[in-house]
């Protein structure tokens, strides 16, 4: 019963929050709503016994990502009202509404799961973070490491893109004589 109530509560809040995120004209509202929605989602994760994921959600999203966004908003000066010229709004809602509707239609039907067996079952009595850790560092070590590389890539990308060196473009500079040392 508690589960159901929590589910419906979280669902309602999340939907409303996200709705605000995508519709609000005020970027600040939008971001705040997004953050709130994210926290609500972590609530789902706790509800679904995915404690580790819930924590990660709060830390990564609500912490890191939101901080980045906040920084971005300040940088881009989008704290005030955002002017958006939205063309054919009906089409937007039609497209996304239809997509969601079709997805819902598909999901309403119960899934016949006769042949499903858990590959990495949740063992009774083992704390979720522990179980996750074991799986993550055995089976999913490779993706984990690749994710590390990916984050490295993202980091480098963020650094060099935002860096000062980008301000002067060598590409656009007309250099008629080729300098042997010209790589800089």
């Amino acid at each position: 019963m508690f589960e159901a109530m929590a589910f419906y509560f979280f669902s309602a809040v999340t939907i409303v929050m996200f709705w605000i995120t995508v519709t609000s004209k005020n970027a600040l509202y939008s971001m705040s709503a997004l953050a709130a929605g994210m926290i609500m989602i972590s609530g789902f994760f706790f509800l679904l016994d995915a404690d580790f994921l819930g924590v990660v959600q709060i830390i990564v999203y609500t912490g890191a990502v939101m901080a980045l966004y906040a920084f971005g908003m300040m940088f881009f000066d989008t704290t005030r009202e955002v002017k958006e010229n939205i063309r054919a709004p009906k089409l937007v809602f039609l497209l996304s509404g239809m997509t969601a509707l079709l997805l819902v239609i598909a999901f309403v039907a119960p899934i016949v799961g006769d042949h499903i067996e858990a590959l990495y079952p949740m063992v009774e009595g083992v704390e979720n973070p522990q179980a996750v850790g074991i799986v993550l560092f055995t089976k999913y070590l490779v993706p984990f490491e690749v994710a590390a590389v990916m984050l490295l890539v993202a980091m480098i990308a963020g650094i060099i893109l935002a860096g000062k060196k980008m301000d002067e473009s060598l590409t656009l500079k007309i250099d008629d004589e080729f300098q042997e040392k010209g790589v800089q």
Binding site: L95, T99, L102
Partner: protein, 618 residues
């Protein structure tokens, strides 16, 4: 004998090629003399061959294989039998005379050499035509003479009318040639060969319908070459060519090729009386039809041309009623006197600075005595007055028509004989006698070169005496052509002669009487009949209006409206449609990120719709 055969055949070719070497050089008498000499050589060989085959022998040679594909084997084979020999004799005789004559006639022409090249080439083609031992070879000659005729009619190509007439002649002939070609195909696919002897052997075994088809198609070919109705218009227009050409090609030889074909293919034609009757009827019709046009024409050469046409009609009647030897005989005599007539007309033209309107002449007899004599001989012969050559052959035709119970044909021919006599002497009278109208127009006529007149002498002699060789001829020809025995009584025979002679003389008399008095009145020229005849029954106009012009217009429509606007435009339309659809579909590529994302959404939605609503049977 083979040597003679090849000499007769190739001597003109050698002459032609020799003259052609000088084609674009200024006049060189050598070409004229050389070609004439070579023709004389050819003539001698022909005479030798004629004498050789006169007793029923035959020379048959095969030069080489020409075409061999599948079952079709066509050799360059030549045969000299009595018919061929006669033809060769006629051809070489007339052409030798014409060659010599032309040396004088073309004296001042800048394309003297070219003329002789073509003239000799024509003789060669004609020889191929008559000597070939198969239909394909005949066709080579057939087309060859067509080519030479084209080149010679259009000899003075700077004249629009000449080049037009040349093309008309060629194209008209081509129409007929198609028929001939089809006839040849029929022969090949049904007889398995194109050799005369092989084909004629099998005539008896073949179906009647087939033979009818074969003979009909071959006769279409003959109709073109011999300018029979409705393909006759080219002959009159062909008079644009130099007069020796008219004499040689359009009177004596080429136009008779059609008759020759019918004679040659007589085993086929004898087997199908229906077609033969058609041939005869058409011949009779053309005889009268052409004669009627000759009655009123004012053009010296055209009158003669129509008379040629008319005489060809006679020959076809003869061939049609089965008297092939008579046809051949008339062909021969006609060649002599008609060539003579034409060449005489050439002299007149020369004298009159190429003026052709006979109403601008008159009284030329004083200035051109010898020409007058020659032309009168020819005219008398043409009219068929005893004892000139024309009498013997023409009379035989009438007799044959009568004897084969074709009385209508006979009547037509009989009337035509009168008309012939009339227009011949109308011409003679208007040109040589009466008022000297040429003075009004400022002409200074003079007699032709002496040697030209001498060159005509053999023809004149032949025109006079050829008839007396009838029995020798019959004796020779009976080896190859059927000589039918007429079962008519002596009385009828003599009556026919008398009646014919009477109408001919009547015609002459009427002409002499009328034109010595100054001809018909002006009123006559305004009558419908006169106009009809003068405009050649409006046939050239009809052809022009209803065939040539629509053809040209249709061609233009096909090109501009169909080819460019439909066929090509369809192709271009497909291409531009594709291109335009590119233009339209590049709207997708608006470059706006929002739109791009929405397109992805559209794609996804379509896929989802398909996922849920499209479920094919697995």
């Amino acid at each position: 004998m083979e040597t003679y055969l090849y000499t007769a055949l190739f001597a003109p070719l050698v002459g032609s090629l020799f003259a052609a070497l000088f084609a674009d050089k200024p006049k060189n008498l050598v070409t004229g003399i050389a070609t004439s000499t070579l023709l004389l050589v050819s003539w001698i060989s022909s005479v030798v061959l004629l004498l050789h085959v006169a007793h029923g022998e035959e020379v048959h040679v095969k030069l080489m294989d020409w075409i061999h594909a599948g079952g079709l084997v066509i050799p360059f084979g030549f045969v000299v039998d009595q018919v061929t020999a006669t033809m060769m004799f006629v051809v070489t005789t007339v052409s030798t005379v014409v060659h010599v004559y032309s040396i004088g006639y073309m004296d001042h022409d800048k394309s003297f050499n070219r003329f002789f090249a073509w003239l000799s080439a024509f003789v060669f083609s004609m020889m191929v035509l008559v000597m070939s031992d198969n239909f394909a070879g005949l066709f080579i000659g057939w087309e060859g003479v067509g080519l030479c005729s084209w080149a010679l009619i259009g000899f003075w190509y700077h004249k629009e009318s000449a080049s037009w007439a040349a093309n008309e002649a060629f194209i008209m002939n081509r129409i007929a040639d198609l028929g001939m070609l089809i006839g040849i195909f029929l022969v090949y696919w049904n007889f398995g060969s194109l050799q005369y002897d092989v084909v004629f052997e099998q005539v008896a075994d073949k179906e009647h319908g087939l033979l009818m088809m074969v003979t009909a198609f071959l006769f279409i070919g003959a109709m073109g070459k011999s300018a029979q109705f409705p393909l006759h218009t080219w002959l009159a227009d062909a008079m644009e060519g130099p007069t020796p050409v008219s004499a040689l090609i359009h009177a004596a030889t080429m136009v008779t090729a059609g008759v020759y074909l019918v004679i040659r293919a007589n085993p086929l034609y004898s087997a199908v009386p229906e077609v033969s009757l058609f041939v005869a009827s058409l011949g009779a019709f053309v005889a009268m039809f052409a004669a009627s046009m000759a009655l009123v024409n004012r053009d010296l050469k055209r009158i003669i041309a129509y008379s040629t046409l008319s005489q060809l009609g006679y020959m076809f009647v003869a061939a049609g009623v089965g008297a092939y030897w008579v046809a051949l005989f008339h062909l021969m005599t006609h060649a002599f006197f008609k060539a003579l007539l034409f060449l005489g007309a050439g002299n007149v033209m020369h004298a009159m600075d190429d003026e052709l309107d006979i109403f601008k002449m008159g009284g030329l007899a004083k200035k051109m005595q010898w020409t007058m004599v020659l032309m009168t001989i020819a005219s008398v012969a043409l009219a068929g007055i005893y004892p000139l050559a024309g009498f013997f052959s023409k009379d035989k035709i009438l007799e044959a028509a009568f004897a084969s119970d074709h009385y209508i044909l006979w009547t037509v021919l009989w009337i035509t004989a009168g008309l012939t006599a009339f227009y011949s002497f109308r011409l003679v009278m208007l040109v040589f006698f009466g008022e000297e109208r040429y003075k009004i127009f400022g002409f200074h006529p003079h007699e032709a070169y002496r040697f030209m007149l001498w060159a005509l002498a053999p023809l004149a002699v032949l025109a006079v005496i050829a008839g007396f060789f009838e029995h020798n001829f019959v004796h020779m020809i009976e080896h190859i052509l059927p000589i039918e025995e007429h079962h008519i009584s002596a009385l009828t025979f003599w009556t026919l002669i008398v009646v014919t002679q009477a109408i001919a003389l009547g015609g002459i008399g009427f002409a002499v009487y009328k034109y010595s008095k100054g001809g018909f009145s002006k009123k006559w020229e305004e009558t419908f009949v006169y106009q009809l005849l003068f405009n050649q029954y409006y046939i050239p106009k009809i052809y022009d209006e209803y065939i040539c012009k629509p053809y040209g217009e249709l061609s233009k429509i096909f090109w501009k409206d169909l080819d460019l606007k439909v066929v090509d435009a369809t192709v271009d339309f497909i291409a531009t449609t594709i291109y335009k659809s590119g233009m339209v579909s590049r709207v997708v590529q608006s470059g706006n990120l929002s739109n791009m994302l929405r397109w992805m959404g559209v794609g996804l939605l379509i896929l989802l719709l398909a996922a849920i609503f499209y479920s094919p049977v697995r």
